[in-house]
Amino acid sequence: MRARFAAVTLTTTLGLAAASTLVGCNQKNQDFRDKVRDVRPITLERHGTMVVEAAASRPGLEYVVVLNGRWRVPEKDGWEPRKLEVYGRGAAGDRVLVNVDELEERLGGHRRFQGQVSVELAGDAPRKVIAKPLYTRLNFFPLSLRQSAYNLVEDGVEVAGIRLLPGREGKFTDYLGARLYMARDKQSKKPIGITVADLRQAFDGQEFMGRYDCGNYQQGWVNDARNPPPLPVDGEGKPHKNFICQGTLDNIVAFDEARVLGFDAELFMKVSGGSRYIDRHTAEAYTRKAGKLSAAGLKKGDVIVRVCGSKPSPMDPAVPCEPGEGTKDVRSVADLAAVWRNADQAQVYVEAQRGAATVTVPLGTFGAPAELPVGFLLAGVLMAAGLLVLLPVGPGAGLIVVWERKVAGRMQSRFGPNRVGPGGWLQWLADGVKLIVKEDVIPTDADPLLFRASPYLVFMGLFAVFVVLPFSQSMIIADLDIGLLYLMSVTSLVVVGIIMGGWSSNSKWSLLGGMRSAAQIISYELPAGLAMLSVVVIAGTLSPQTLVANQGGSPWHWFVFDNPMTFACFFIWFISALAEGNRTPFDLPEAESELVSGYNTEYSGFRFSIFFLTEWTNLFVIGAIATTVFFGGWRIPGVHPDTMETSFFWQAAGFAMMMFKSLVFVFIVIWIRWTLPRFRVDQMMNMCWKYFVPITLASLVLVAGYQWVTPTDIREYVRYAMFAVFGVGLGGFFVSRVIFTYRSTKKTLRLT
């Protein structure tokens, strides 16, 4: 063990040493980048680090970063000139890191900076400047989110990299790989377009040097420059482009050699860093890609005069980006930025004047630069999605609670809630408000972290299910290919939350409730999953929408009546769903007569209300899954899905159908709860493992065999027969029993 550790340490040390040597070698040849390349982030917050990119910096050395410019002082509401020097530390990747907190002490709060940033080597004055100044705008310690967001937008957004905003002309834009200037008419001095300068061209060091290598052919001629060998030529007598062997082979290419072969002089000077030679090392270190403008085909000196689209204004909605009538001249960089923003995902065509000619260059779908950081957008999208789910679901669950209490009232010859709102239907609101304003008690001996986290898990586990519920043909958040698997997996989160709640409460009753639910929910996930698998075998898909589409509108085409096995599977699934949802007759985890209130005994206030909410939301989820998997979902008898797809009416009807079927199941679950007693824990487990799991496994095999062996038309007849026997026959018997029991119920007696 120790030897291994020593070996690892040794290797690492050696590797680091080698790496630093290499970096050191490179440094020598990288003086051409002796300017501060970038300062980021634009918005600096407390305890943050300012990164100054300066190629000549080295890891471990001390530097002084000089901020020379004007500072905005909010107290005075004006700018004042000031030169600030702060210490920074060299870091790998050509960066100097500055601890911002030190700056804060000296600045004393929110400041904005405009000016030059340069880097000098720390030491006695005069210090050596290792990176020449770069004009930058910085925003220090913004006091509010709004302030920082405002500055982010104003100064251009780092995430997108584009800085094509007003006042930013002339600055090299990394995003486009060019410097853009305003072009003015020579006489009138009016702006006529945008001049493209400093195009960042591609430079492949290996390829560049390869063109000067002569390979084996040159063996023996290495140092005999006076008598060079004959060059291989192409058909036109010019030197073969892949075989250029001029000059000496000392791994150095001179400026003149490159010029002869048409290499861009400016690029050469840039790579060579002002010297007139490029060696292999420099070439390979400088390898880079072309800028976007360069890649698109724009050349240095082109004047962009038109960009497709009509009115380039950020206030305009997106317009189709096609060249034609309505195009306007582009007179400033802001115009270009605006068009680009509006033409999201569309081709942007640029008309440019190249000398006397006008060329049209497609800039490609680079995507519009974002105006806000991605984080803001994501947060917004998540919030919107969350609200979309929560807004209907919260009241929905509340209404189901009231409905359940009303149904329970009728079943127990009493009224149920009838005080709050019309007919008592706003009772959920009163209860919810009451729960929210109650004190959120966390028992002294509870594990506070787990205790707090538990409701979130329960909540997430259940509400994530809504993602794959097909409310109608088009109303589904995400029709996942693995929809049913997703459904099974996210609901498993609920049991984690319940066990956590039961355990962390540090109450014996809660613990017993948590243990019971662990045994119960995990056990019943098996038969529930297996029962659904039988249907999956028939449908051949896990996607909820496809499951629905594969069923017919008519009852005999529902999967529940597909064959005797699926019929049995439905009942097993339904019972398992009751068990997974802790509903009577499987409400053991919260059996109030035995365990006081089970796993949520110690919860109060809002945390309790989350358990409460998820429990009743689960009712709807049970109904919706039953409808989707076994009862034809949003399908309407006699209407083809293609017809439904194009019509708003049929979409709405499909939604109504789905809701109706789901609510019927919600009613059945409520009905069962107020009728049946509770199982004991061993009976509940016996039922699962001794009966449900074997039956569903057998059913899976039988269904697979049935699908394989039975011809299609026979299967169709089986569906009709199933519907006749089980749907009409058994259903009719059930209804007749209900009617008999209802009629034999004694009417209320009045004695007083």
Partner: protein, 379 residues
């Protein structure tokens, strides 16, 4: 109690669960010290005494008649039989006669209150098993009885109706018809109740073969009433040691036969109480017929001077088994000593033995099936 706690303090493997005195299903303030390994209990020690009010001592400080309201509190779920026990004991001690109308009114009120008490017992038992709906149905029927008894004596729970020498008031005009109407309504409701819960498969599975008490055990523990009869012992004080005018009515004594499992299991105890509803209805009907022949107004012979000497014991078939009252008089206006023997106290000791190896959920069902009521245990 301290020994108990020390004995079970830490045996390592097991969890000590303190069930009660505040727990939703201990039917009042009863406490059990439960030792469990997961769900399975190794023991459940009943700890009684949380509702002790020294009622027997109060009896020594009141006059014989003045103690009557306190007897309501011996068993407030079935107060009439406690009234009856005290009245019968004092009458026996003083050698008083009760007019027939008084005796019939006692029987009617006893039986109505027995129905009402079983309503609570059965409804609460179903609720303890997890079925909530039977409870409101049982309570609905009990409300009718409360209404009827209020018309009779002005009270709905603690009646204070029986008197030494008779009953407090004659039945009001039209009351008999109302009772008959109620009985006509109630009898079919029993079938409805059976359909709802008694024969429910889950309910039977929970209770059948659960904590069966054999006949000899039941006798050894001194169980009484439905708990005794469920164990197959055909013994009912109303028939086998008739008091009041019970010798003049005909009724069956339901005896547990192990229909769903073993004789004397929890389901038998439930079923026995359901059948006792029917028998109580029968007895009430006969009493309402017989009371027509008795002269109106002759329901109470007021004892002129009540200073008896000697001792006497009266035994009454209460809803929770035999309730006997032993009185010693020393010739003064107060009893020298009074003693109540109640069914629930004896039932409690069975729980200690029968709970071994049961599950926590079964303990709740066992307590409910024995129909223990806290004030009757402690007095």
């Amino acid at each position: 109690m301290s020994e108990l706690i020390i004995n079970y303090a830490d045996s390592g493997e097991e969890m000590t669960l303190n069930m009660g005195p505040q727990h939703p299903s201990t039917h009042g303030v009863i406490r059990f010290i439960v030792k469990t390994d997961g769900e399975i209990m190794s023991s459940a020690e009943p700890d009684v005494g949380y509702l002790h009010r020294a009622i027997e001592h109060i009896a020594e400080k009141c006059t014989y008649e003045g103690f009557m309201p306190y007897t309501d509190r011996v068993d407030y779920v079935c107060a009439m039989t406690a009234n009856h026990a005290w009245a019968a004991a004092v009458e026996k001690l003083a050698g008083l006669e009760v007019p027939p109308r008084g005796e019939w009114l006692r029987i009617i009120s006893d039986e109505l209150d027995r129905i009402s008490s079983h309503c609570i017992a059965l409804g609460a038992m179903a609720m303890d098993i997890g079925a909530i709906t039977p409870f409101p149905y049982a309570l609905r029927e009990r409300e009718y009885i409360n209404d009827l008894l209020e018309m009779l004596c002005g009270n709905r729970l603690t009646y204070n109706y029986h008197r030494v020498g008779g009953v407090g008031w004659d039945m009001p005009e039209g009351w008999r018809d109302k009772v008959l109407r109620f009985l006509d309504h109630f009898e079919p409701t029993i079938d409805e109740f059976n359909r709802l819960i008694t024969n429910n498969d889950i309910f039977v599975a929970r209770l059948a073969n659960m904590a069966p008490i054999t006949g000899s055990d039941a006798i050894a523990y001194g169980l009484g009433g439905p708990n005794l009869r469920a164990s197959g012992i055909d013994y009912d004080l109303r028939r086998d040691a008739p008091y009041s005018l019970y010798s003049q009515v005909k009724f069956n004594v339901p005896v547990g036969s192990g229909q769903m499992g073993a004789v004397g299991d929890s389901w038998d105890r439930f079923w026995c109480r359901v059948e006792e509803w029917r028998e109580s209805v029968k007895i009430t009907r006969q009493a309402l017929d017989a009371i027509e022949a008795t002269p109106k107004g002759e329901f109470w012979i007021h004892p002129k001077k009540l200073k008896p000497k000697g001792d006497a014991m009266a035994r009454v078939e209460a809803a929770r088994g035999e309730m006997s009252c032993y009185v010693v008089g020393d010739g003064s206006a107060n009893a020298f000593r009074a003693r109540f023997r109640t069914g629930s106290f004896n039932a409690m000791q069975v729980i200690r033995e029968k709970s071994k190896g049961l599950m926590v959920a079964d303990l709740v069902a066992l307590i409910a099936s024995l129909d223990v009521v806290a004030p009757e245990i402690d007095r």
